[in-house]
């Protein structure tokens, strides 16, 4: 039996267009962008209604990468779900793990038992991963609008981060490093020094990056005043993360919720001010990302300093000391959220108190809500600007589709 029996109406039935040819006006056209298009950052199809070069409406079609994370999570114990959490936002797996693990720890009531060294290591790796995620976002965004150099420069620097993270846990992208109640391993010996070396190397590179792309005249002309997202609209659509901050709201869950050890660390929250155009345009979104990289570096430096002074590695330090043998939370509902590089990642858990597996586990994906604003801000723009807007939202289809 062949693996797939071809019928020409399969595609029409499985993902029909929202608009039909009868509904659109005579000089309008339905254009499909994707699913295999580099500017859609994964597999997503945009059904674009165009009038010449002008975009009249955009309908995103999702689900090409759907694996039903929630069904998986409902069928296995809490700790075994962590690798699936990695595969949601595969560019920032450490941050997703951190959010998920915090939720489970809160349900068990062991979040106060976690030793400070473990918490600082978690924040350290999460911030390293945030840097890697922002590097990819800015790099591919440059490529989307025609600048190839920043992509190569940023991939070069991202490679260092991936190697550092590979050194800690053996995997380059999907780590399974942060466990419920602790960590997989302690940091390898010499990691702190090497990481410090890397940060010293990276600092001038970020200035270089700022001059290369953010202040670049061509970049400014392509992005300023394009895709302006006002703050009230952003909040109404549930947009969060750098995009919401670019719209001018100083709102960062690391400060608002003050989870983990973030209250002990010093960092600023950069927001968009419309320096090159209007507040909340594509330029502001990238400006905020680059500035956040600076803040992440500050956080990493403080973590390294603590990890090398009062929280130094000791012989009897066991990162798995509080890892529970059996995870069976009491009967409760819990919503936990954390600041991912792309926005607010939330998990809704329902534990029934009788089993080791969650009754329901819903992931509130930040990219999913961020992407939903796309039709609103891309009405009436040119097709080339649509690509610029899609890139500036910086979504990962693995997390949109879950």
């Amino acid at each position: 039996m062949p693996q797939y029996q071809y019928h020409k109406d399969h595609l029409l039935k499985s993902e029909p267009n929202k608009y039909t040819e009868e509904e659109i006006k005579s000089d309008e056209m339905i254009l499909s962008v994707g699913p295999q298009h580099p500017s859609t950052h994964g597999v997503m199809r945009l059904e674009v209604i165009t009038d010449g070069e002008i975009v009249k409406d955009v309908v995103p079609h999702l689900g090409f990468l759907h694996r039903c994370f929630e069904k998986h999570a409902e069928s296995m114990p809490y700790n075994q779900t962590i690798p699936f959490v990695d595969r949601m936002d595969y560019l920032a797996a450490m941050n997703s793990e951190h959010a998920y693990v915090m939720g489970v720890e809160r349900m068990l009531g062991i979040e106060k038992d976690i030793s400070p060294r473990v918490e600082f290591i978690r924040v350290l790796v999460a911030e390293l991963n945030r840097l890697a995620s922002h590097f990819l976002a800015i790099g591919t965004y440059g490529m989307d609008i025609g600048a190839y150099t920043p992509f190569l420069w940023l991939m070069r620097d991202r490679e260092h981060i991936l190697r550092l993270l590979e050194w800690t846990c053996g995997a380059r992208m999907l780590y399974n490093y942060i466990w419920v109640g602790g960590l997989f391993y302690d940091l390898p010996v010499g990691f702190e020094e090497r990481c410090k070396e890397f940060i010293d190397y990276l600092k001038p590179k970020l200035d270089e990056l700022y001059r290369l792309i953010i202040e670049n005249k061509i970049f400014v002309e392509r992005t300023a005043n394009i895709g302006v997202l006002p703050m009230d609209l952003a909040i109404n659509y549930g947009v969060s993360g750098p995009i919401l901050r670019a719209s001018g709201l100083k709102y960062d869950l690391r400060r608002v919720d003050a989870y983990s050890v973030y209250p002990e660390l010093e960092f600023d929250i950069p927001i968009g001010r419309g320096e090159m155009g209007t507040v909340g345009d594509c330029w502001d979104r990238n400006y905020v990302r680059v500035k956040e990289c600076d803040e992440s570096i500050r956080i990493i430096e403080q973590c390294l300093e603590r990890l090398q002074s009062d929280l130094k590695r000791t012989r009897d330090f066991d990162p798995q000391a509080h890892v529970p043998k059996k995870i069976r939370p009491k009967k409760q509902d819990l919503y936990v959220r954390a600041e991912n590089p792309k926005g607010e990642l939330g998990f809704f858990f329902r534990a029934d108190g009788r089993s080791d597996i969650p009754f329901r586990c819903k992931a509130r994906s930040c990219c999913f809500s961020n992407l939903s604003v796309l039709p609103e801000i891309s009405k009436g723009v040119m097709i080339a600007d649509l690509i610029a807007i899609v890139g500036s939202i910086d979504f990962v289809m693995g997390e949109v589709d879950r």
Binding site: P2, Q3, Y4, Q5, H7, H10, K13, S14, E15, P16, K18, L62, G63, H66, C68, E70, K71, E74, R106, I235, N236, Y237, G238, L249, Y251, V256, K330, K331, Q332, D333, L334, Y335, R337, E344, G346, F348, R350, F359, R360, K362, R364, F368, S369, S372, E376, D401, R402
Partner: protein
Amino acid sequence: MTFEEIVELISSEFGEEVILEKDLTSSPESLFVPVDQVAKICRFLYEHEATYFDFLSCLTAIDNGPQINTMEVVYNLYSIPFDHHLMLKVVVPRNEEGKALPEVPSVSHIWRTADWHEREAFDLVGIAFKNHPDLRRILLPADWKGNPLRKDYQDLETYHGIKVEY
């Protein structure tokens, strides 16, 4: 505002009988309200100057299974200026296979976050949202049969001639 103050505000506006049940074990604390009132209560909470829940964090649909025979929709509200949370819940009877889907009023005209979240709930759990502007499947193909997050969901044998079981 604390949870008790929010509850008091709702019951003074809509009457005591809309507070069906309070659940203090959940985090944040949650409140069961009647299905037919939920859109009005959400609108009130969104507009009232003391609550001002301007951010819908999450919308979750839950199937409680054929034994309990109910389904739930959970709204996680958050207010950015006041920094307070609320979890609202509604319970609807579960439909049998082949019967009309349970209906819950849509809140997508209040928070447009709910637009896609309700489509996802419709797609994966099978709850119809009344007055939703565009209720189509979002993650699964349009010609998929069944709702995978129902507790009694059975996989299809084949989809377009492709074996589903692996």
